[in-house]
Amino acid sequence: MSSTNLDVFMPVIILIALAIIMFVGAIGVVGKLLRPHKPTPLKETPYECGEAPVGSAWSNFNVRFYVVSLIFIIFDVEGALMFPVAAVFKDFVAIGAGGVVLGSLLLFILILASGLVYCWKKGDLDWVKSFQLSEDQLKKLNEVEAR
């Protein structure tokens, strides 16, 4: 049997379709017939340990999550670019041309690692960024406070 690309990806489509059928069947059809539906205003408020909720949850949020996602994107793209090289590396070693591929791979990882070192040094990897004062600054601060 010839296998074209569409044949090979067929199970993926079927599996997602089954997930949708399961979800809609359990929640939209069977569940709808069986479960009670008595909404009250109190029931529909978000849970805040018994207190009345203050404001919406959709407000400004901690920026640290954003920094993490930025670092992640850099690493993930580099990882995605390394996959094809990794897949053919063994074949290149077998025909004796592994040195070139190894060199470029190491160069690539070096750039990635220097990015990591930069982020580390800058303190972006710390969850709680520390702003520790140097000795001189501390001395100055003490002088100001003493005055």
């Binding site: 997602i16 089954l18 997930a19 979800f23 978000p46 949850a57 959709w58 999550f65 897949a87 040195g99």
Partner: protein, 398 residues
């Protein structure tokens, strides 16, 4: 080459005969139709098996935790309480479906579906055995990383759409944790791809052997460390303790699914337990030899030649043995995951990020470099053959 369960079955005579007879009877070429029916049946079975494993996972979790804490655990419904998960399912489906008034209704309703379809889609490339794999994509691991991330999106969407502060915090933590731990996991996977020379999960498994010293975990020192990096990373990606910060019940009530009730909550739970199974399966395929059976019993040649069985039966016995090997390894890992959950306390959120970015990521980069250099200098031999060759050469000099 892309193997699927259809191409596995079509090598048998019966399949060809059936195709010929059915085509003659119906008057058109039924190859595509039969292929679709086989795919659908196999997918249906696998989805049900995954759902049952997810359900029994909750049972196993409660039973093992009870064992660890010297309690009884569920023991009323069915023999040894085995049907507890079905009773829970019935209870869940009878519960009222409460949607918060301020929530983003569309996203709120679609988040559990995202989690569920993300996990089910990863089942497609799970290498249960060399023949009974739904589809052996030549980009298998890459596909898995991509589709597996949908669960992270689902957690974030669920947390955001609830419009509750607990949910939002849980969702944010979940998203940042999952994407962070994806980096060391990706690096560990790349080092395995380097060793096996292919991204298909069957290629990866086939380049290992049946016995422990032929597995990738003992291939060289770097993969030995890589296994633990990958295992810790998968624990974090599946939001399992000690990394279950997105649903940390002592600080965030219930995390990203605080506002979810009834079946929607059940689908989140099912997706989580099924994902643990899938990830354990992937770790066992990448590092622990996956479906490989010792002494090459898996290809069925032994049964045909020594026991005189017909080729069809011998081959399928081999496949069943492979299935058994895969599930044994996967369930052992599953047990370890549950064991870890009930042994270690939860980590703090800044410790979590420190562990990922300052320890696991540099270690996995180091492993990647080490594996690349190993493949280059030792031409992909395992450390055992390197050691024994060195030993033999040393003995020769005397």
């Amino acid at each position: 080459m892309n193997n699927t369960i259809v191409s596995y079955l079509s090598q048998f005579e019966g399949h060809q005969k059936f195709l010929a007879v059915a085509s003659e009877f119906l008057g058109f070429d039924v190859t595509a139709l039969v292929g679709f029916v086989i795919f659908f049946t196999a997918c249906f079975i696998l989805v049900n098996v995954a759902a049952a494993i997810g359900g029994l996972g909750t049972y196993a979790e409660r039973k093992i935790s009870a064992d660890i804490q010297m309690r009884q655990g569920p023991n009323r419904v069915g023999p040894y309480g085995l049907l507890q998960f079905l009773a829970d399912g019935v209870k869940m489906i009878l519960k009222e479906d409460v949607v918060p008034a301020q929530a983003d209704k569309f996203l709120f309703n679609i988040a559990p579906l995202l989690a569920l379809s993300g996990v089910f889609a990863t089942l497609a490339v799970l290498p249960l055995s060399s023949g009974f794999i739904l589809t052996d994509l030549n980009i298998g691991i890459f596909y898995l990383l991509g589709v597996g991330s949908v669960v992270g999106v689902a957690i974030f969407v669920g947390g955001y759409a609830s419009n509750s502060k607990w949910s939002l915090l849980g969702g944010m933590r979940g998203a940042s944790q999952i994407i962070s731990y994806e980096v060391p996991v990706t690096m560990s996977i790349i080092s395995i791809v380097l060793l096996s020379g292919g991204m298909s999960l069957v290629t990866v498994t086939e380049s290992q052997g049946g016995l422990p010293h032929q597995w990738f975990i003992l291939h060289n020192p770097f993969t030995f460390i890589g296994f633990f990096v990958m295992f810790i990373g998968t624990l974090a990606e599946a939001n399992r303790a000690p990394f279950d910060l997105p649903e940390a019940e002592s600080e965030l009530v219930s995390g990203y699914h605080t506002e979810y009730t009834g079946m929607k909550f059940a689908f989140f739970a099912l997706a989580e337990y099924a994902e643990v199974f899938v990830l354990c399966g992937i770790v066992s395929a990448l590092y622990l030899g996956g479906y490989k059976v010792p002494m090459d019993l898996g290809n069925g040649v032994f049964f045909v030649e020594n026991l005189g069985l017909p080729a069809v039966i011998g081959k399928n016995i081999g496949q069943l043995l492979q299935l058994g090997a895969f599930f044994t390894k996967t369930f052992l890992l599953y047990y370890v995951v549950i064991w870890i959950r009930w042994t270690l306390p939860r980590m703090r959120v800044d410790d979590l990020m420190t562990l990922c970015w300052k320890y696991l990521t540099p270690i996995s980069l180091f492993n990647l470099i080490g594996c690349a250099i190993w493949v280059y200098f030792f031409e992909n031999q395992s450390m055992w053959s390197v050691i024994f060759k060195a030993g033999a050469a040393g003995a020769g000099h005397h």
